[in-house]
């Protein structure tokens, strides 16, 4: 008889290995899925994982990995702080939108002036926008005990309505022939978050993501707040006795994740995207939740997970175009990744035992 037996202590080896095993299992079952669709499985997997990194046109795809991965990492780092303490901000997508709107709006207020003040001002406004949007669930939770999961999630839909509204009204390009969407910030030097080195994909958002990884690492390992976060997540009662102030912790975690999501939105709207439009948000805020867990809520893990997610997006699009794989199959493939991760996670706390249970 095969059964699951609880480990006396979580296995460190499995904790490190599960992401890798999950990726391998995804490749295996993804390959079977592609084969069932009548596509060459090995070539499909190779296209998704190999082509963007080492293929013929990798000189173009590698920088794109940074562009696609940076917002994911930036948002996921913020989310991981709260997740570690059991504070669930599910609404990063909304904070991302509000950051983009506030940042772009603050910049466009000065259009067409050229000044080196404008971009830093937009960065601050973007962070504040995301922070303020995250403060709504934070304050409601600390004052009235509402559930931050529900409130933050539902505020995403409110933010989307805001986005539609400003695209059609307040921020609409006056020279856009009545079509929705703001001016394109890429064609306005003072507000453009351009590549720092042409062709490298490195823009300020990538730099910010890397800085966030370092800060989160230091915070969690060397700082009292980081200790409180970990303690609250791992031993809530002990945290209470240690004098952790839960209100401050909720405000800090939600505020930080909101600000980072807002920054991600600002860097995206002023750089790769260029425009506030009705469909500006493409789900980074939600995908970042997957990235955070795939990275084991660890800053370095998140960095790697963000890269992996970006890889499957870019490789997935290549596979669609070159092998005519349906988009839905790629999405199933990405879904498998999280599914297998959670499934194999079981092995961290349990082990598979064969035979009769030992009597205690």
């Amino acid at each position: 008889m095969i059964r699951l037996e609880k480990r006396p202590q979580p296995s460190r080896a499995w904790s490190m290995a599960t992401p890798l095993v999950a990726v391998l299992a995804t490749m295996l079952f993804g390959g079977l899925l592609f084969a069932a669709l009548g596509k060459p499985p090995v070539e499909a997997i190779r296209t998704i994982f190999w082509e963007p990194l080492f293929g013929e046109f990798s000189f173009y795809y590698r920088p794109q990995l940074l562009v696609k991965g940076a917002p994911l990492v930036l948002i996921a780092i913020g989310l991981s702080l709260g997740f570690r303490a059991g504070i669930w901000n599910i609404g990063a997508e909304g904070q991302y939108i509000m950051g983009a709107i506030c940042g772009a709006g603050a910049g466009l207020a000065f259009y067409p002036a050229e000044s080196f003040f404008i971009f830093p001002l937009m960065v601050v406004a973007g962070a504040l926008g995301g922070w303020a949007w995250a403060m709504i669930p934070a304050v409601l939770k600390t004052r009235f005990g509402t559930n931050e999961i529900l409130v933050s999630l539902m505020l995403v839909y409110v933010a989307e309505q805001f986005l539609a509204s400003v695209s059609l009204g307040l921020l609409k390009n006056p020279e856009g022939f009545g079509f929705p969407g703001s001016r394109n910030l890429q064609s306005w030097d003072s507000a453009h978050n351009a590549e720092l080195i042409t062709g490298s994909g490195m823009h300020w958002g990538v730099v910010a993501a890397l800085i966030a990884v370092i800060f989160a690492y230091v915070l969690l390992n060397r700082h009292m707040t980081g200790y409180h976060i970990r303690l609250t997540g791992e031993a809530p009662r002990a945290a209470k006795f240690a004098g952790v102030n839960p209100t401050r912790l909720v405000l800090f975690c939600l505020g930080t994740s909101g600000a980072l999501a807002g920054l991600a939105g600002l860097f995206e709207v002023s750089g790769p995207s260029g425009q506030i439009t009705i469909d500006f948000n493409v789900g980074y805020g939600f995908t970042a939740i997957i990235v955070a867990f795939l990275g084991r809520l660890h800053p370095v893990g998140i960095l790697l997970a963000g890269g992996l997610m970006a890889l499957t997006y870019i490789g997935g699009d290549i596979a669609q175009s070159n092998l005519q794989l349906p988009a839905a199959a790629i999405q199933v493939f990405q879904g498998m990744l999280l599914f297998f991760l959670l499934a194999f996670d079981l092995l961290t706390n349990f082990r598979i035992a064969v035979g009769k249970p030992v009597q205690a």
Partner: protein, 357 residues
Amino acid sequence: MKLTNLLTSAAVALGLAAGAAMADTTKVGFVYVGPVGDGGWTYEHDQGRKAVEAEFGDKVETVYVENVAEGPDAERVMTQMALEGADLIFTTSFGYMDPTINVAKKFPNVKFEHATGYKRSDNVSTYSARFYEGRAVQGTIAGHMTESNIIGYIGSYPIPEVIRGINSAYIHAKKVNPNVEFKIVWAFTWFDPAKEADAAKVLIEQGADVILQHTDSTAPQAAAQAAGNVITFGQASDMSEYAPKPRVSSIIDDWAPYYIARTKAVIDGTWESKDTWDGIGAGMVGIGEISDAVPADVKAAALAIKDSLADGSYHAFTGPIKKQDGSDWLAEGETADDGTLAGMNFYVEGLEGDIPQ
């Protein structure tokens, strides 16, 4: 710019390599905003792609990527297609406008065709359909058929394209039924069955017995069917599975003739950048079969409008027409110019409510 050079030289090198390997294969790429199975907008573009394949056989190779988000993702997908040797790329959503222009700059030898936009360059053409002509036919049928005199309209986004459709439908419904009233719900989506169904239900509860939609799913048709005595029109695609009732007719986007012509132009080396805005006459806007639920005289009236639009003897916006605020727009016999139509941001007289800002 270094990247530009790099990309261009790569494209040139690849072009040469491809040219040697498969001398007479033209590669045509399609970038879709939705899934090919949406039964509406993207579905019809994909039908156009299949028509290109059927027309040219081995001479062309088509590739597509579906569900591409507007913005940087679209830019990456287009770049990738150009790198992989596409000669012609159709980008089929308004939001692909700036990405198309950006990528086209890097690949001067690749031709781009952007649907529904207004930015062109030496290697970027734009194309769109005069859907408002189809709305004139719809409005005529709707005005005749309504008994409650309330016509519901599900708007997607308040952009000129959609506002043009509302105005055209209203003008022609009013022409045959002076008591007609329009109720407009903005769904703020192109494709969301749940929202569209809600919008349709709200309109039906408010007494509408005709539902017009500018969204792409069949959810409003299902809602109308459930409610009983309500008629609808297929949007973008024929939606004939709901015929003969509630769906009594439809506006069909038929991109096939255009896609075939433009592909042929690339094969022949005669492609040049231009703006195309075709209607019923050129076959880009199709009117789906008017079902038997419509009385014969109404059907005849609708077909008469359709024919006069097709042969150019009638324009869907012919004066006298006033704007909603009562100011004059078109004098007796005057027809609207394309510039005003392209940027239309006002309702005509008689429509109630404001355009969301």
